[in-house]
């Protein structure tokens, strides 16, 4: 199977080596901003309770995401103003897909 040339750095030492496919495919970490709500599981949006500009309190329901035959209510993690809502009712969403963004 394919060889991938690369480098890895360990304790300030640079090693020239081949990479595994899995290592090459890994995603770099991005810290959470707290301003985004993402799908924790893939599924279908059954209800959208907010629109752009809505003021919500922490714990208010934002959407219903149906997955694995369960309706999951997605609640706001913060008090704030909704900047944009991405999916519409009936949309299929993938895991980690951005659903709601706050200002």
């Amino acid at each position: 199977m394919d060889e991938l040339k690369g480098k890895i750095i360990l304790d300030d030492t640079v090693y020239e080596t081949n990479l595994t496919k899995k290592f090459a495919l890994r995603q770099t970490y991005k810290p959470e901003t707290g301003k985004e709500v993402r799908a924790f599981i893939p599924g279908v949006i059954r209800d959208v309770a907010v629109t752009t500009g809505s003021h919500v309190k922490k714990g208010d329901m934002l959407l219903i995401l149906e997955a694995m035959k369960m309706k999951n209510r997605i609640f706001s993690p913060i008090d704030g103003k909704v900047l944009s809502v991405f999916p519409q009712v009936g949309d299929k969403v993938a895991k980690n897909q951005l659903l709601v963004e706050f200002e």
Partner: protein, 514 residues
Amino acid sequence: MSVTQRILDFFKKKTSITEELEAKAAVKQEKMGKMTARQRIEALLDDGSFHEYDLFVEHTVEDFGMDKKFLPRDGVITGTGTILGFPVCIYAQDFTVAGGSLGLAHARKITKIMDHAMNLGIPLIGINDSGGARIQEGVNSLAGYGEIFYRNTKASGVIPQISVILGPCAGGAVYSPALTDFVFVVDKISKMFITGPEVIKTVLGEEISMEDLGGARVQAEISGNAHFFANTELECFEQIKKLVTYIPWNNRKKADDFKPMLPKPEFQLSNIIPKDNKESYDVRDVIRAIGDNSDFLEIHEHWASNIVIGFMRMNGATVGVVANQPLVLAGVLDVDSSDKAARFIRFCDSFNIPLLTLVDLPGYLPGVDQEYAGVIRHGAKILYAYSEATVLKMTIILRKAYGGGYIAMCSRHLGADFVFAWPSAEIAVMGPEGAANIIFKKEIESAENPDEMRQLKVQEYTDKFANPYKAASSGYVDAVIGPEETREYILHSMQIGSNKEVVELKKKHGIPPF
């Protein structure tokens, strides 16, 4: 009816299943590029050695029109035979009978041959080619799977279990192979997944092909579910035959000895390791330079290839090798390589196969993804497996043995019986660059030329610690040996350690970080 007539009737009855159906099956399977269950068994076992049982087993289901359906053998061939003279129990699912679906009678045939293998103390080989549970049989079909898993678990560590995936193996069915010791897959034929592409599409809206989701390459390279990858079924059977020669029949026996042979002269230990310790090399060349006839049966060749595991022979006796692979990811330990090594160590320990560990690693792989994936929990498995193992444990430190990696790779501290180091060994808490940057931080920062000072201090640390002698002075290394002496030292260790026996405190079982 005369006895002669009854005998004639019997042969007719038997032939209608074994020959007439076989001819139909061959046409169906060939269309899918596959061999029939019967052809597979015959290709794998010694000529004429296969003896079939339970040919006339039938299901007793009456629902959904099943009472009118005759399913020959209930879709699975079971029996016994030999591979290069080694006895085995074997079953092969027949995809041409109701899609190889698993009903209760089908499952009972499998569990019967499994019990047989356990009672007789011989390896079990399962050839999987099945669409999954037989829906018409409802919960009885699930019961069948459960009874197979239970026996897989009970047989684990008692007899070697080999699974061959030669078709679909989906849903619950995948857990039988997952519980066995070695899983073989063939390109474009094997498909393994818990939920197939159709379900994923309807439930989640994600589109993926069967091949990309759970094909042979995925299982051999990404998930690590498969231990051996072959391009054709016949190549796969050759791999199984080779494997069988390296392992014992059961956990009360040792693997058979073969004729002692010398390594091939083209593999020379003295010129494998590069001068620059940041340069890589293929550790399999070291293994080939040590082992009989330079033979090495690599397991999990394509997955977590930053560690190499497999079987070799020393003076004819099987040895399990675990070696860091500097060629890939500098040979670091990470989540997958720890899992891979730990399971292999436990297999060798269960089946009385001495362990040889070749060490050259800069440490554990840093990274958020590794920490989140549980490198602590997974990395602990290798510590557990080595500490737990009571077979003869021999360790050779070839080059780098830094930090936690040094401890993990069967160090003296985890109970190695023999630890040898080459003069190129660097046994230290970390690499010279990193260590110098910490120990001499102030000197380097306050120097007029920090880079020059750093080089000086790195050299100072290298001279002092990057060698085998500090560890040897504490007795953690038994002997510093020249690379060319390695084979002789291993052979001597095996001779001296051949009667090793460890009496353990009684316990039900340990609790490894699964």
